[in-house]
């Protein structure tokens, strides 16, 4: 998952570090400045209109009253007003948003691309964006028109004539509309959760008779595998390689290859029977099998009883044999028909003794789509170039987006290094991580030559102890782009002694952890002329997955926080503007919040190509290219000065308006990553940071209006 800025620690974000001011300090100073500005301004205005003595008395009186109101808030009255407001929302058909949402979900299949290669992301994006849009829209309309309408219809007098404070009216409005938003979001969350689960769930058929035999050799020995492809379902299919490895009476767990961001587990039931004799018949073959449990329509594979020997004398299972389907059973005689009319191969017939294997395959629902990975990110990250120099960034292969840097392949020294803190035997206990530390990573691949198109680029992963110089034997892998690659760092690691020699078996936590709790992981690209592109968050230790459902709820909670901020703005504007103007103002705040990324780019240190408003207009009229310097002159100076004003305005907008994109956790949920609690905490505090001053401001403004006196 792309994380262009890291997630700070909540406490450090709040109180600050040596180099950065804490959020609490920055917020307090801003509030103080705003308060003093507002106070001094109103004092000045009051003095001008009422004279020094009366003006001062009025201002101080008002501030005193308002402050007293604030501290005398009655929860009971606030609850009553909240209920009133909630009823108003229901009366004004706010629930229609939920109905529209359900209709959208019902017809989503018409406009969501079924061929997408990242279905989970597409569906999440759709359900969360549409929920945010609908709820924000409905609450926006409710909040901005509520107070102006009450004032216009004079129904507000039925409230203000009661012993309630302005602060309670404001709180009642915000809480009432937020409660409506909560209810809507809750309903949408449940409905969309069911929708997403149902939409992406699918299973593929895997026909055993269409699989081919293959020989596999690994540390457990030589054994057969069945290779083939699943049927085409949901606009894709998976390659499948089923290893027929019997481990202590249990068949090895298998899974299909990853396609469209997921794979499927393959449950294989494999029962073998010796064939006493066989004869070809019109229907196919009549096999004599004693004590079998075969039934018509069972799928069977036939192979020689003993594997043939390859050139090196090892067993070879590469039988040129298609599968068969049982058509009829007469006692021990089983009649079978070859897939697509095929017959036994000459190789099989020549082998004499044959075996029949009943194969039952079933594929599970998609794996890896609806997850909540809990990544443990590194504390340090750097590149080592081909000369051995340490660098913060690797090679730039010409991408405009510089998020990922590239490491050269085929070099002895060039590598990328991640350093993890807190890697101790206690934190990663043998109960939770019995075989080792799971590591997941995403890579970008840049090829300078075609290489082997059929295969991916080779890479390797190793752990290093910089204190002892020990390096584990590399684990090689074939890199897959835009997919999460998984590897495991075993607890017992083979490592050659420094300077070479026979590898020794070392303990991960005893021999590779340095500085008490640090682990260094090194990634290399092994093919010359090819490059791996990585960023710091691309490789992490994968802790146990969190609950997806809870993560989904957290994602919707981030929507709620956005809505709360917008509601607060809406209510604040409605205390002094009419409904239409409040709507436009809040709408602008919302748009500015959603465009915060773009605004940040515009006011960033790097001037945007062609300049801002006035410079780009000037360039358009004079047909000046984007990249050339403008001719010095009066008009150029005016345009540049105008742009400075625009920049100041944008800077102010960026600083004051809420950055709604930072309170938007959709990407986490869609990409299958758990929303970190630090991030959630920061978002909650940020929301409160806007809510509190907006509430206070609304209260003061309403207090100043005649209607609430």
């Amino acid at each position: 998952m792309v994380l262009e800025t890291g997630i700070p620690n909540l406490w450090l974000w709040l109180v600050g570090t040596e180099t950065e001011t804490g959020a609490i300090v920055a917020w307090s100073l801003t509030m103080l400045a705003l308060f003093l500005s507002a106070f001094l301004l109103s004092w000045l205005v009051s003095i001008i209109f009422r004279g020094p003595s009366k003006g001062t008395r009025v201002v101080f009186g008002r501030f005193w009253d308002a402050t007293r109101d604030l501290v005398r808030i009655s929860p009971r009255r606030v609850i009553s007003l909240t209920i009133l407001c909630f009823r108003e929302a229901i009366r004004r058909w706010a629930w229609v948003a939920f109905v529209i949402y359900l209709i959208l979900l019902a017809f989503a299949g018409f406009f969501l691309d079924p061929k997408t290669n990242e279905p989970a992301q597409l569906y999440m994006d759709f359900v969360m964006s549409s929920a945010a849009f609908l709820v924000a829209l409905i609450v926006l309309f409710l909040s901005v028109f509520s107070i102006p309408n009450d004032i216009y219809r004079r129904t507000i007098y039925t409230v203000v004539t009661k012993p309630v404070h302005a602060s309670e009216i404001i709180l009642g409005r915000i809480f009432g509309f937020s409660a409506m938003a909560t209810l809507l979001l809750l309903g949408m969350c449940i409905a969309s959760y069911l929708f997403v689960n149902r939409a992406i769930d699918h299973v593929h058929e895997l026909d055993p008779t269409k699989l081919n035999w293959e020989t596999v050799q690994d540390e457990d020995g030589v054994y057969p595998a069945l290779v083939g492809r699943t049927e085409y379902t949901n606009e894709h299919r998976h390659d499948s390689r089923i290893l027929l490895k019997n481990l202590g009476g249990q068949w090895q767990e298998n899974a299909t290859a990853i396609m469209h961001g997921h794979n499927h587990g393959v449950d294989a039931e494999f029962t073998s029977y010796p064939i006493s004799s066989y004869a070809s018949s019109e229907a196919g073959y009549d096999l004599t099998i004693e004590n079998h449990a075969l039934k018509p329509d069972d799928k069977i594979l036939i192979s020689p009883a003993q594997p043939s020997a390859d050139g090196g004398g090892s067993a070879a299972y590469d039988y040129d044999e298609a599968g068969f389907t049982v058509t009829e059973i007469n006692g021990d005689v089983v009649t079978v028909r070859g897939a697509e009319g095929r017959s036994l191969s000459a190789q099989t017939e020549a082998s004499g003794n044959l075996m029949a294997h009943k194969v039952e395959l079933s594929l599970t629902s998609p794996q890896g789509l609806l997850t909540a990975r809990v990544p443990v990110y590194s504390s340090d990250f750097y590149f080592v170039d081909s000369t051995g120099l340490l660098k913060r960034a690797g090679v730039n292969v010409g991408n405009v987006w510089e998020y990922r840097s590239y490491v050269e392949g085929g070099s002895l020294l060039a590598s990328v290094v991640w350093v993890f803190d807190g890697v101790t035997a206690e934190n990663y206990s043998i109960d939770d991580y019995p075989s080792g530390l799971p590591v997941e990573f995403t890579l970008s691949i840049f090829r300078t030559h075609k290489g082997n198109i059929e295969e991916g680029v080779l890479g390797s992963l190793a752990v290093v102890n910089p204190e002892t110089g020990r390096r584990s034997q590399s684990t090689n892998f074939v890199a897959k782009e835009f997919t999460i690659n998984s590897q495991e760092i075993p607890r017992i690691i083979e490592s050659p002694p420094v300077g070479g020699g026979v590898p020794e078996r070392l303990d991960l936590f005893e021999d590779f952890i340095y500085d008490g709790d640090k682990l260094m992981v090194e990634l290399k690209c092994l093919e010359r002329g090819q490059y791996f592109g990585v960023a710091r968050p691309d490789l992490y230790i994968a802790a146990a997955d969190a609950s997806f459902a809870f993560n989904y709820v957290k994602g919707f909670f981030s929507l709620y926080m956005q809505v709360l901020i917008l509601t607060s703005f809406g209510v604040m504007f409605s205390t002094f503007l009419n409904g239409a103007l409040s709507l436009i103002s809040t709408f602008i705040i919302g748009i500015a919040g959603l465009l915060s990324d773009m605004i940040r780019e515009l006011i960033g240190p790097q001037k945007p190509p062609g300049g801002l408003l006035f410079e780009s207009m000037y360039r358009m009229f004079t047909r000046a290219p984007l990249t050339t310097d403008l001719e010095p002159g009066l008009l150029t100076s005016v345009a540049l000065a105008g742009d400075e004003v625009v920049r100041a305005f944008l800077l102010m907008t960026y600083r004051i308006f809420p950055d709604l994109m930072k309170i938007w956790d959709k990407d986490y949920v869609a990409n299958g990553f758990n929303i970190p609690s630090d991030l959630l905490g920061i978002q909650i505090l940020t929301t409160l940071g806007f809510f509190i001053p907006l509430f206070v401001l609304s209260h003061f403004i309403l207090k100043c209006r005649e209607v609430a006196k």
């Binding site: 691309d113 894709h236 987006w401 198109i453 059929e454 782009e481 835009f482």
Partner: protein, 625 residues
């Protein structure tokens, strides 16, 4: 009083509204028709929409989702569309493919009738996004997405030729000429991602499979044929033809070119025999007389022959009444005849003046050709002179050479004007001035058709079809293919013998004889030349292994020298030969360039490309447009 005034005001307003309904009704009344479909009445705006074919239904399918989205923009559709374009670029830079795909969907919903969106983004997906993937399967996935995207665009823009053309081009050229051509073609034949099934239906696929035509070149040809048919069925100048952004000759030549490429691709995969001969023969027929003979079980649309020929090529000498071996091509022939008649009228029917001008032109060319050290131009002019005297006395090769020099034996209206006898003839001034505009127009037509001939590389392809379909051509290709297989199977002696036989046949093919023209252009084509170079390298390796010297009389030495401008590799030490990868790569790059030129209008290789409508035309060969 107040209430009365209010009532009065309301009555006035209601009356004004009622009055306004009349002009509104006149302007905006929707079209209505009776059961027979005849128009009963329609407002002025409806009439204008119908007249200028501006109604949504004139363009293509109407999509309720799209209409709803347009309405939901509340008049800010342009702003939103611009924002989406910005986001799509951003997503592409950030390699956020699923968001990019979703953004493209929204874009097309907002601007379904903006053809450039479909063309640009279809191309973008097939050419630019696909190469961002490392896994060839994902590359193919994005190519299929691009093709399907373009295809969907046709539903909304039924009258746009270029979308059909793009679909054909991407299916044929992107899949057939990518770096991953072997994998792509394999996946295409298996219809991975079911793109072909979505576009053409499973029955069609079965039909193609039955006749061994499930091939990207053949399927791409279907789209090109559809485009040609759409062009021909449209009344001239209305809707469809206006959408053509392509030289007509190039446009019309694509179906046949696909057929040739189909044959070439299959030959490369070892299908050299009757099938290949059939494909090349059919391609020859299409190329030379514009007909579409029945091919297998499929039934290609019959494009009206005369219409097609109007835009196709042809060579019919001015000076020779008969006897040119090529098929007659009506387009150019008719244009030349028109021009010549007018030219003859301009000179008052004096053939002497015409012949004098021709002789002067040839003499002038002879002077210029004297600077050509190779002597080839002089030879060509000499053949032309002999041909003018007695065309039948020329050999097959000479006839071809003479045909190429034909413009030197033609007289243009402006050349007539410059001739002293005409320039000084004041008596005929009025007649000449009267004829001149028509004569110039006829000359422009001749030039335009010639440009088309040049753009489609007509002569080269005609010769190629002919030679590839000939028994000698097939046999030469078969020998070299078998030699390569034998080489791969380590049957070196067999490979050497087959190579020697194959090279000798190529020599014969190149030289021609009394009855068969030389296919010299064929041998300088990039693809064949590169293949020859590769074959020669393998042949040399076999000789090295057998300690045999490279023969001095190697039959196709001239072809290899032409392809390999560096010192001949047979002069290199054995160790250098095998490792000369970089020169091979360069040669391959040259091939791409040459091939692009040869194929007239191809710009794509493997890397990022500028999509159509993106500031650079998609085709290199439509300069005439």
């Amino acid at each position: 009083m107040n209430n009365r005034r209010k009532l009065q005001r309301k009555i006035i307003i209601a009356s004004c509204m009622a009055l306004l309904l009349l002009p509104m009704s006149y302007l905006a009344q929707p079209a209505a028709s009776d059961e027979a479909g005849d128009s009963l009445f329609e407002g002025k705006l409806a009439q204008m929409r119908s007249e200028h074919r501006l109604a949504q239904s004139n363009l293509g399918e109407i999509d309720p989702t799209s209409e709803a989205m347009k309405l939901a923009c509340l008049g800010l559709r342009g702003v939103y569309a611009t924002w989406l374009w910005h986001k799509s670029n951003q997503f592409k830079e950030q390699e956020n493919w699923s968001s990019l795909a979703a953004t493209l969907e929204q874009m097309t919903k907002l601007q379904p009738n903006f053809v450039s969106v479909w063309r640009f983004q279809g191309w973008n997906q097939a050419y630019n996004l696909s190469v961002e993937m490392d896994d060839y399967r994902y590359r193919y996935y994005w190519v299929t997405r691009g093709i399907e995207f373009i295809d969907r665009g046709q539903d909304y823009n039924e009258k746009d030729l270029m979308l059909l053309w793009d679909e054909g081009w991407t299916t044929a050229q992107k899949i057939g000429r990518a770096d991953e051509v072997e994998q792509f073609r394999r996946m295409f034949a298996e219809d991975e991602f079911q793109m072909v099934a979505n576009l053409f239906g499973t029955d069609k696929i079965q039909d193609w499979r039955n006749y061994d035509q499930m091939d990207n070149w053949y399927v791409g040809r279907e789209s090109f044929l559809d485009a040609c048919q759409l062009y021909d069925n449209d009344p001239r100048g209305v809707d469809v033809r206006r959408s053509l952004r392509q030289n007509v000759a190039v446009f019309m030549s694509e179906p046949t070119k696909c057929l040739m490429r189909f044959a070439m691709a299959r030959e490369k995969e070892g299908q050299i025999g009757d099938n290949a001969a059939d494909r090349w023969s059919i391609a020859f027929g299409e190329w030379t007389d514009g007909s579409y003979p029945s091919f297998g079980a499929s039934n290609p649309p019959q494009i009206q022959r005369d219409q097609r020929l109007n835009y196709m090529y042809g060579v019919r000498p001015f000076a020779f009444e008969q006897g040119v071996p090529e098929t007659t091509f009506l387009g150019l022939d008719a244009a030349i005849r028109r021009r010549d008649e007018l030219v003859l009228q301009m000179v008052g029917g004096s053939e002497e003046i015409v012949n004098e001008i021709i002789q002067d032109k040839i003499d002038e060319q002879v002077k210029l050709a004297a600077e050509d050290t190779t002597g080839a131009q002089l030879l060509q002019l000499d053949i032309l002179r002999r041909g003018l005297e007695d065309f039948d006395s020329l050999t097959a090769n000479e006839k071809n050479v003479a045909a190429e020099a034909l413009p030197f034996a033609e007289v243009t209206p402006d050349e007539v004007l410059r001739h002293p006898a005409v320039a000084d003839d004041n008596a005929s001034r009025d007649r000449i001035n009267e004829l001149l505009p028509d004569a110039r127009k006829a000359q422009q037509e001749v030039d335009a058709i010639r440009r088309g001939i040049s753009l489609v590389n007509y002569t080269y392809w005609r010769e190629r079809c002919e030679s590839e379909a000939s028994p000698l051509g097939l046999s030469a290709r078969r020998d070299l293919y078998d030699a390569q297989q034998a080489f791969n199977d380590d049957m070196r002696t067999r490979a050497r013998e087959l190579y020697e036989s194959g090279f000798q046949k190529w020599r014969e093919l190149i030289d021609g004889d009394e009855n068969r023209p030389s296919y010299y252009r064929f041998t300088i084509d990039a693809e064949t030349g590169h293949d020859m170079l590769e074959h020669a390298r393998r042949y040399q390796e076999i000789l090295n292994n057998e300690n045999l010297p490279f023969p001095d009389d190697f039959p196709i030495k001239d072809v290899i020298n032409n392809r390999n401008p560096q010192p001949p590799f047979w002069d290199e030490e054995p160790g250098e030969t095998a490792g000369n990868a970089s020169s091979q790569d360069n040669a391959a790059n040259d091939d791409n360039n040459d091939d692009a030129a040869q194929d007239d209008n191809s710009t794509q290789g493997g890397g990022q490309q500028e999509p159509p409508g993106g500031g650079q035309t998609q085709t290199g060969g439509d300069g005439g447009q």
